[in-house]
Symmetry: C2
Subunit: 368 residues, 2 copies
């Protein structure tokens, strides 16, 4: 009896009361104004003049276009990038990674201040595919690089808003091109020290720096094993005050660990050094290591080779990714996949047979 009553009142609560009509979701006047604004984007020529002469407003706006998901913004962005290409490629591209807490922001602030003080023009970008979730944990809070962010020869940009790692990486690579065309001679790409984004950063920089700190004995804890392998140098940060001797011990341990691994393709054996972002000790040393590496690899040809390999790899990966997506987005594949996967996990077909069946279906659908 009670149940019925509850149901009735529940029903009545669901009844929508007649009321005043909802206001339109879009403000027509605002839409018209917005559309006009969008149409009033500067021309490619205006953008190019702005970028090549480093007009900060146009330069930033161009990067916003690169980061935008709107098709018309993308079309314009691609035109700008194509026009920037002949002016790009002349910077030193650095990747900086490290576990959270290694002091990446203060390190970049210290290195950046040193570089801009020596006449360099520095752009700091970031890759953090999780940045929508963590609300821009890296570089989001510009106040952490207060000194650098106001310097006329520095440009700091947080990670493009979240998306697939591939998408974020692509936007960052395109932003590098625009920065280089604008005359930045040093680009730092920062990444969070966990996960796949290091590999993406490694694939777009000339030099990859791993920042560490002395910890509870296990200096490599939390660092994915592959990350150490990619480093062209390891800097033990926070080598100051009470922590100085501990940092030096950690540095020796890391040197020993690095010694265990074979020489990388570059022919450069990655050094381990200490530095203090807080006091500035060792910061010039880090930069010396970087310039020494650049000289070394430019002499032995690896510098150019690596950039060419990076370009080729990006093209191949980009094609593979698109072929992969195109396959799995096919509606017939979507339907068949679940069934075949189920059969495979029940050991009724081998993974190869499953793949062959799906591929046959796909190519038949493609030929239609």
């Amino acid at each position: 009896m009670k149940k019925k009553h509850e149901k009735e009142s529940f029903d009545s609560a669901l009844k929508v009361q007649e009321g005043i009509p909802q206001p339109p979701v879009l403000n027509e006047t605002a839409v018209t104004r917005f559309k006009r604004t969008r149409k009033q984007l500067p021309s490619v020529e205006a953008f190019m003049e702005g970028i090549l002469n480093f007009n900060r407003t146009l330069f930033s706006q161009a990067i916003t276009l690169v980061e935008s998901a709107l098709p018309e913004h993308q079309a314009l962005a691609q035109e700008i990038i194509a026009r920037c290409l002949p002016h790009a490629g002349k910077s030193v591209r650095l990747g900086v990674t490290g576990v959270p807490g290694a002091g990446k922001s203060t390190f970049i602030e210290a290195l950046g201040t040193y570089l801009t003080g020596n006449g360099h023009k520095l752009a700091v970008l970031a890759i953090d595919p999780s940045s929508s979730r963590s609300k821009g944990s890296i570089l989001g809070d510009k106040t952490r690089m207060e000194g650098l962010s106001t310097h006329p020869n520095a440009f700091i940009r947080p990670s493009p808003s979240a998306g697939s790692l591939g998408g974020v990486a692509r936007k960052t690579r395109e932003t590098i091109i625009i920065c280089e065309a604008a005359g930045f001679d040093t680009i730092i790409v920062e990444t969070v020290g966990v996960g796949q984004s290091e590999i993406a950063v490694h694939s777009m920089v000339d030099f990859f720096l791993l920042l560490m700190i002395s910890g509870a004995g296990d200096e490599l804890q939390g660092i994915k094993r592959g990350i150490m392998e990619m480093a062209d140098a390891i800097a033990v940060n926070k080598a100051d005050g009470d922590n100085k001797s501990r940092a030096q011990i950690a540095c020796t341990q890391i040197k020993n660990a690095l010694h265990l691994f074979p020489l990388p393709e570059s022919g450069w054996s990655p050094p381990a050094i200490t530095c203090s972002s807080l006091m500035g000790d060792g910061i010039p040393g880090v930069w010396d290591t970087i310039t020494e590496y650049i000289r070394f690899t430019q002499t032995n040809g690896y510098f150019r080779l690596k950039r060419q390999q990076q370009s080729k790899q990006i093209m191949i990966d980009s094609i593979d990714q698109r072929l992969h997506d195109h396959f799995y987005l096919n509606p017939e594949i979507k339907t068949a996949l679940r069934q075949i996967e189920h059969k495979m996990l029940a050991d009724q077909v081998t993974p190869y047979q499953a793949a062959a069946q799906l591929l046959e279906l796909y190519f038949r659908a493609m030929g239609k």
Copy 2:
């Protein structure tokens, strides 16, 4: 003058003397006999009975079919594999790798002798995509496993003849299915300790053992950095005679190195142990470690999860590979690729633009 004379005599030496006609390359009678033999292959039913009752001749012949490149052999092989699948999957699959000289063959002989002595039925397979060049460096010389190779409960098969790593790996995976259907409860897949084949082996086994020896201080030299990460245990071999204490020191160093890395997904922390394949010391200990790992991962569910992940990954990789090949084999792509790559390496287009242009061409050609 001398030069000219030399040249003349050189010319005359190049002149081919007329001789008797070459005999035909193919012996027609032999070809006819061979073709007849090929048609007289046993039926799927005969193969299945042979495999399930472990008739060594039919069993070996089935594996030869798997390894064959002939389309008609492959069709028959795939039928046999499909029929074997319900009987497969019940073995413990071990991967063994190590630098050349680590004593893989003697180790497998020692472990295999221990296992067959304890009633196990053991198949030893190998992956060596370079085996045509090195003339079957691993397992090719069966005399190195003389005791094991003649044991009724052991089966030793060299690496399938050279091809792409993917092809070799596929043949080995399919051979595992046939071995399991034939009642082998333990499968060892051996690999050379250098390069990509470790990753292929790791993707088809339950337990991955890295074999090392005490060296000149740098215990990890020559081992790709990623290999250590994949190991479920590391055994320092040749811990005998004068070498015993050195092996123990090396083992301690490896333990320390392993300690630096975070716990793998399995929840199992890889131990380092010593053994002597020559004296047999530590061989039961290696097997105890393996069985302990199997028990541990079967209890926490990782064992089944890993096999399912392996299957899914093989299917995905196999599809991606085929899509990739299909793209690059397209004649229009072949022509366009060279031009676009050239433009890209001259920094006239970005890798993304190059990829987009090629993809547009490909999908247009596909839809025709």
